[in-house]
């Protein structure tokens, strides 16, 4: 491959390949393999991927009409049930694609980072399924708060490497996995877990995840004869987000943002509002002195920067040192975000919004009680945003501050009458965190947590 291939790894100014020289050849090799197998279906790669995604992964997932939420908001609310993908989250779509690609490339070993443990779990499952040795890097803090996933990875046969640097979360785990990759690049593939990292990862992961919006499009047409008015998805790195949005972003916006596999523009693309819900944590402010951001809202509050191989929006101090992010949800707790999302937000194609820890916990309990679905804390952010804009409390509060009310009306309009919420994962992994965090605060709709004293 010629060295000018990086030109198409950019999304406007974002993206690129900011990695050590030792990794550049591997990245070029990956780009070449991605083009041949994924975009051109060489050796029937895509056919095998789709077949395995169905048989092993359980796809397609339902687009479920959520009756109680619909009644609550007086709109039609649909849940894209990625929580029903094997493993309990959308993460398998990407992990299975990449592990299979690594196999086609003749790689002999898989490494991956994980935050919530969902990507690690998905990678461990895919690696077991496809018979590849697998090592997962996970921050110490995340290991503590995502025990069930740690056990699942080990039981699937993956080796787990705890990362103690920094605050021991996703950011450190990614750095450490990159170091492993730089050391073992000859026989190892790094299964990046979101639409982040150097090109071609953001584009490739989006391609693997875009099965979500492909299905939503089809299911929407079948179920209600038209496209939804809006798609709402939480955004950490943004892979469930880009997966849920991809088929609604027209190719003009896309043309500057990497290729898509032969999609042509569609008239109705622009009609669907796309909302990326970030973790507002406990506050949107960044304490530059302390080097911490009590949130993970890189799209809403981040500055342009270079992190983990890509130019994107990052949470950083005035000097460009990356700050520690926070969210009650481990999967959203990251100081960066996918470069394509940063681009689409700048282009006003995607709206970046956010909700805090408390609202997410409340939404977690609401869906559990009202729809009988325990959502991941990550996905709870998407649910909480709809509640924030359309919930009864908001209706009660309007009339108080007029300017706010106007903003709210706009937000309500943006959501429209038919709302698809991407339920990116199930919440079993979060039960311990939820019990602990709910107990600490005043969450009005939660059951009495004292009966769980002492944890699970």
């Amino acid at each position: 491959m010629s060295s000018d291939s990086s030109a198409d790894g950019k999304f406007g100014e974002y993206g690129g390949q900011y990695v050590p020289e030792a990794l550049m050849p591997a990245i070029e090799e990956l780009r070449d393999a991605y083009e041949r197998y994924v975009l051109e279906n060489e050796d029937g790669f895509v056919d095998e991927f789709r077949q395995r995604l169905g048989q092993f992964g359980g796809r397609p997932t339902p687009l479920q009409h959520a009756e109680h939420l619909s009644a609550r908001y007086d709109r039609e609310v649909y849940l894209k049930r990625e929580d029903l993908v094997h493993g309990g989250a959308h993460k398998l779509n990407n992990a299975l694609g990449q592990v299979l690609l690594a196999k086609y490339m003749g790689k002999e070993r898989i490494v991956a980072e994980t935050g919530a443990g969902q990507h690690g779990t998905a990678t461990a499952m895919a690696a077991a399924h496809l018979d590849m040795p697998c090592e997962i890097y996970m921050g110490e803090t995340d290991i503590q708060r995502q025990r069930p996933n740690v056990f699942r990875m080990r039981i699937n046969g993956a080796d787990l490497n705890p990362v103690t640097a920094g605050r021991g979360t996703l950011k450190e785990a990614i750095s450490e996995t990159m170091r492993d990759w730089a050391t073992n690049v000859d026989d190892t593939h790094y299964v990046v877990g979101s639409v982040v990292g150097p090109a071609p990862f953001p584009e490739m992961v989006r391609e693997f995840q875009s099965v979500i919006s492909e299905e939503v499009r089809k299911q929407a047409k079948e179920q209600f004869g038209t496209l939804p008015d809006s798609v709402v998805a939480c955004a950490g790195g943004g892979s469930n987000t880009m997966g849920a949005f991809a088929e609604f972003v027209d190719s003009e916006a896309r043309s500057a943002s990497g290729r898509s596999s032969g999609r042509s523009p569609r008239e109705d693309d622009e009609d669907v509002s796309l909302l990326a819900v970030e973790a507002g944590g406990s506050s949107l402010a960044v304490d530059e002195e302390e080097g911490v951001a009590p949130n993970s809202a890189s799209l809403s509050t981040g500055g342009q920067g270079v992190l983990h191989g890509a130019r994107t929006k990052v949470l950083q101090d005035e000097w460009g040192q990356i700050v520690e992010s926070h969210s009650v949800s481990a999967g959203l707790d990251y100081a960066g975000v996918g470069p394509e999302l940063a681009y689409l937000v700048d282009e006003d194609r995607v709206s970046a919004v956010n909700v805090g820890d408390d609202a997410a916990l409340e939404a977690f309990h609401r869906l559990s009680q009202e729809e009988g679905i325990i959502p991941a804390l990550e996905s709870s952010h998407a649910l909480a945003y709809v509640e924030k804009v359309l919930g009864p409390e908001r209706s009660a509060a309007t009339g108080a501050a007029d300017a706010d009310a106007e903003v709210d009306d706009e937000a309500a309009e943006l959501l429209g009458d038919r709302i698809v919420i991407n339920l990116s994962g199930r919440g079993d992994k979060d039960l311990e965190t939820v019990i602990e965090e709910t107990d600490k605060r005043d969450i009005p709709n939660a059951p009495d947590m004292s009966e769980f004293a002492g944890g699970l």
Binding site: M24, P25, A165, M178, R179, A182, G303, G305, E318, W319
Partner: protein
Amino acid sequence: MSRLPSAFGSEPAFIPYLAVGDPDIPSSKQYVEALVEGGADCIELGLPFSEPIAEGPTIQKAVVRSLSGGITPDAYFEFVDDLDVDVPLVCMTYYNLIFRYGAESGTAAGEGDYAAPGPRPFVKRAAEVGIDGFVVPDLPAEEADDLREACDEFGLDLVFIVAPTTTDDRLETIREQVSGYVYVQARLGVTGAQADVSDQTAESLARIADWDVPKAVGFGISSGDHAARVVEAGADGIIVGSALVDIVADGVENDRPTAEVADALREKARELKEGALRSAKRSPETDGR
């Protein structure tokens, strides 16, 4: 104007690395001086970044010590400005610090001003305080146009790394962009002292033997014997980081006085420099210039 060419005279150059501010600014200053007394021909001064993806545990820990000691790019520049040594200085850091220098704040924080200043303000300031060039481990030649342009404007050099995995195509790209010296990465992986030198070194050097720019080898060199072997393999210089940072770390862990650590660094520098010279004297024909 860059003084880097002066580092590569008739003898092989010894280029030590230290993280500035590890564990604090005054000690760091003594350490750099000690290295020059020990024979350094050029110094790579690390400006610590919070996500050092190319570093192994030794330098990662140095970065943590230095950052918790409060180092900032401005404090770093002040340090360089105050430094009283007569060798060329190379700034080793990660791209985000170069990209963001001069921004008022790191975040948009509601004001919507999230754009980055780009590399020019950083390079300008670096030139003012007497930096001669840069090594940026997370900036491959493809992404380096803006930085290259700023370096050209201020007459500074931009060093690139050649790795064992670098393909022939990429060698050509790097050759077009590189100046000052080319950093030959002796082995795959991250920085860190090694018990032995790798065979990949000679191979890598052979591939770029006809380049005009001096070739300095780094990653894992930790003794005078390593230095000798690397020079024998055709290197014009040796770069040593972790083996020196280990001495600083040992000082911190065992609470040694700064002067004692400086002595140890000076001694280690002599060993490395002598190693490099030893083989240069024995086999002048391998001197590729």
